[in-house]
């Protein structure tokens, strides 16, 4: 059969690499084919999610940030300083976390979606019109965020003024100083040329951009056991490939940025400076629980438990 798979990124971005690795495994190991649709080809992120729920698409990749309107608990990834920062712990977390591997699939299943994989794309980096090291310096700065209320709360907590804007308007808004900054994984900052208009990079270590790949549940349930196995194995294969892919990706992207611009500065907050930002996280946790209710609280507890477990 020909399976259709849509994601939210451009050619060569992490989700695109994941999708094509998935496709490669399926096509090498069966007679099935996979048609990949990239950003914009079938509409916005919300559109492709609805199309998957309607069964037009078989697979979809949507970041939990966008899934917030559907599954409020998915916004947990926006709570700052919840996730570890170093690549190794992040990978271990995604492999072993009960929250990710047991709890989330149930939440997605309630919405008719079979969660196949959650995977990290990269550490979030803030770009600004000047280098800063304290929340005080963020005051009165308008920071572009995805249209997600919890993410707005994070930047309010950091002292900034969150400004929700669609992705298509970010570059222009930075250029005309309508906003003074934004956050994204470094490879997006590089591929989108955002450093040209917002040259001061701040590594705050507050979170990792995470995304999720899923299938329409009716479609998945209707597959033969062999095909289910195939799909599972293909997502595992793509997951391992993507971990390889993102390892070192950030450094490469940063090198490319520094090569093409002399204006760029890089600020990595030290432990002391991070502590000042970390102090503001509880306010966002409270907001998360307010939005996601008891089930959100349980998920948050499980997250923290999982993080304890991997530290051992």
């Amino acid at each position: 059969a020909n399976w259709r798979y849509a994601h939210e990124e451009y050619e060569g971005d992490v989700q695109d690499v994941f999708a094509y690795k998935f496709k490669e495994y399926i096509e090498d190991n069966s007679d099935n084919t996979v048609q990949v649709y990239r950003f914009g080809e079938l509409g916005e992120s919300d559109d492709i999610m609805e199309q998957t729920q309607a069964g037009i698409l078989n697979f979809v990749n949507q970041s939990p940030g966008f899934t917030g309107a559907l599954i409020p608990e998915a916004q947990i990834f926006f709570i700052p300083y919840l996730m570890p920062t170093d690549m190794e712990s992040v990978v271990t977390f995604f492999r072993e976390s009960k929250a990710i591997n047991d709890d989330f699939p149930k939440l997605y299943a309630e919405k008719g979606l079979e969660l196949l994989k959650m995977y990290p794309e990269g550490e979030m980096v803030i770009t600004l019109d000047e280098a800063i090291t304290t929340p005080e310096e963020l005051k009165n700065k308008k920071i572009r965020v995805m249209t997600n209320p919890l993410l707005s709360e994070t930047y309010s907590a950091f002292g900034a003024t969150p400004t929700p804007l669609p992705w298509g308007e970010v570059y222009g808004a930075l250029q005309t100083n309508m906003v003074q900054g934004q956050e994204n994984p470094i490879f997006w900052i590089q591929s989108g040329g955002l450093y040209e208009v917002s040259p001061h990079l701040i590594f705050t270590g507050h979170g990792w951009f995470t995304t999720a790949m899923m299938a329409n549940q009716n479609f998945y349930e209707g597959l033969s056991d062999a095909d289910k196995e195939l799909v599972r194995k293909a997502s595992d294969f793509a997951f391992e490939e993507i971990l390889d892919h993102i390892d070192g990706l950030a450094d490469e992207a940063l090198a490319k940025i520094q090569e093409s611009s002399d204006e760029v500065t890089v600020t990595r907050l030290n432990e002391e400076q991070i502590a000042e930002f970390r102090k503001r996280a509880p306010q966002v946790e409270a907001k998360f629980v307010e939005m996601a209710g008891d089930s959100g609280q349980q998920l948050l507890n499980q997250f923290k438990q999982d993080l304890e477990d991997i530290k051992k």
Partner: protein, 428 residues
């Protein structure tokens, strides 16, 4: 499937259906073929609503509203009077004034048709009286109004920017160079025409009269300053510029010139709303139509069959120009932009062409095509407004079309004509 959809669409278009119907019918047939029935029509509705979702679309009704207020007020006449005071007396001055007024009014209005009305209505009788032939006059007005489509603001550029996700601010700035170049070409032609036919010149205005004309036009002259200066200076986005224009037009006509009464607002807003709805329903169904094309991978198939992958950047540009030019000879420009832009998107991306340059060329082609027989829609506007028979309206157009095609060739050969100002305003 591509062939079936195209045949349905063109057939219904030519029969005279409202343009939303050919698009909708072709899309519905596409859905039925793709999903074996009507089961997934929800996605068509989803994509219709998605089509009118982008925030930048607000600029369309705002610019229409601003131009509508000014056309009904005195701004347009004051601009024309100022141009006349300065160049009315030179050889061919009346014709050059008409072209220049179209360009200036184009900096206020986003559409060619509004420009035809605002500039053509007062100047055509004057030109006829001065001894210009009617076919020359009509052709000049129709084609000079095309300049308004290139000079910001431009509704065509807004729609192209939304569909192709290109910066509307950059498109606006890039339209200025080509617009002025075409004005220069047209002015030269007017000069030659006036010498050849020995059209008498107009009396020269005194410096006192000129001073008064400038003072009167000063207020409306601020429009281009707001739009170009605002975007250029990074003060606001095109949508915000549009809102500021509305505010400014309102202050001007209602408070300063007192040419309109508050009760006129209702009628003006209603007329703006009507024009907006008629365009946006097309944007909506156009988005639904291009979704099914994209889902069925038709653009890739079409581009492959015309061998675009071997064409190289210039080949792709020329193909795009020809396609848009021909399509606009038959169909409304907005529909052409909505349908053809997504089809060529993969080729534009693959060749690494600057989407802003492509946008400027498309806007120009769209303007030329709509002034070209047999069915260019500007021709029919002119027939309706000036009540002239079809043959009279088209007789004078060939030299203008030729000049516009040369202009397109120049822009392809020297992209800096369009990109120079853009690069100055938005250094990469």
């Amino acid at each position: 499937m591509a062939t079936i959809l195209m045949v349905i669409m063109i057939g219904l278009l030519l029969m005279g259906f409202p343009m939303m119907i050919p698009l909708t019918t072709a899309a519905v047939v596409g859905f039925v073929m793709m999903f074996d029935g009507f089961g997934q029509m929800g996605t068509f509705i989803q994509q219709m609503m998605g089509g009118i979702r982008p925030a930048s679309l607000i600029a369309v009704p705002m610019f229409i509203l601003a131009a509508d207020i000014m056309t009904r007020g005195q701004s347009a006449d004051r601009l024309i009077n100022m141009v006349m005071a300065f160049i009315g007396h030179i050889k061919g001055g009346l014709a050059i004034s008409a072209a220049t007024s179209c360009t200036l009014f184009g900096a206020v209005s986003g559409s060619t048709q509004a420009t035809v009305v605002a500039v053509g209505s007062p100047l055509r009788p004057k030109m006829l009286k001065a001894g210009y032939s009617d076919s020359f006059t009509l052709a000049l007005i129709i084609n000079a109004s095309d300049i308004a489509f290139l000079i910001p603001p431009s509704i065509g550029m807004i729609i192209y920017g939304v569909v192709s996700q290109t910066s509307i601010a950059e498109l606006f700035i890039a339209g200025i160079g080509p617009g002025l170049m075409i004005l220069f070409m047209f002015s030269l032609y007017c000069l030659l025409y006036a010498y050849k036919n020995n059209v008498p010149t107009e009396p020269k205005a005194t410096w006192g009269e000129r001073g008064r004309a400038v003072r009167e036009a000063l207020w409306p002259l601020f429009f281009p300053v707001i739009i170009v200066g605002g975007i250029y200076g990074g003060i606001f986005s095109p949508t915000e510029a549009a809102a500021v224009c509305v505010l400014y037009a309102f202050l001007l006509e209602f408070l300063i010139f007192r040419s309109l009464k508050l009760t006129d607002i209702y009628r003006i807003a209603k007329s703006t709303g009507l024009i907006t709805a008629v365009v946006f329903i097309l944007v909506a169904v156009g988005n639904g139509f291009s979704w099914i094309l994209s889902f069925a991978q038709i653009p890739q198939a079409i581009l492959e069959s015309v061998g675009i992958n071997e064409a190289g950047p210039v080949g792709v540009l020329v193909t795009i120009c020809v396609a848009f030019f021909i399509a606009c000879m038959f169909v409304d420009p907005i529909v052409v932009i909505l349908v053809l832009t997504p089809i060529f998107a993969p080729a534009i991306q693959a060749t690494g062409l600057d989407p802003v340059l492509v946008g400027v060329l498309i806007t120009l082609q769209v303007a030329i095509g709509s002034a070209t027989p047999p069915f260019g829609c500007d021709i029919f506007t002119a027939i309706a407004i000036f009540k002239r028979p079809y043959m009279d309206v088209i007789r004078g157009t060939p030299p203008f079309i030729a000049m516009l095609i040369v202009a397109a060739g120049l822009i392809i050969a020297f992209p800096q004509i369009a990109l120079f100002l853009r690069d100055l305003a938005f250094p990469a």
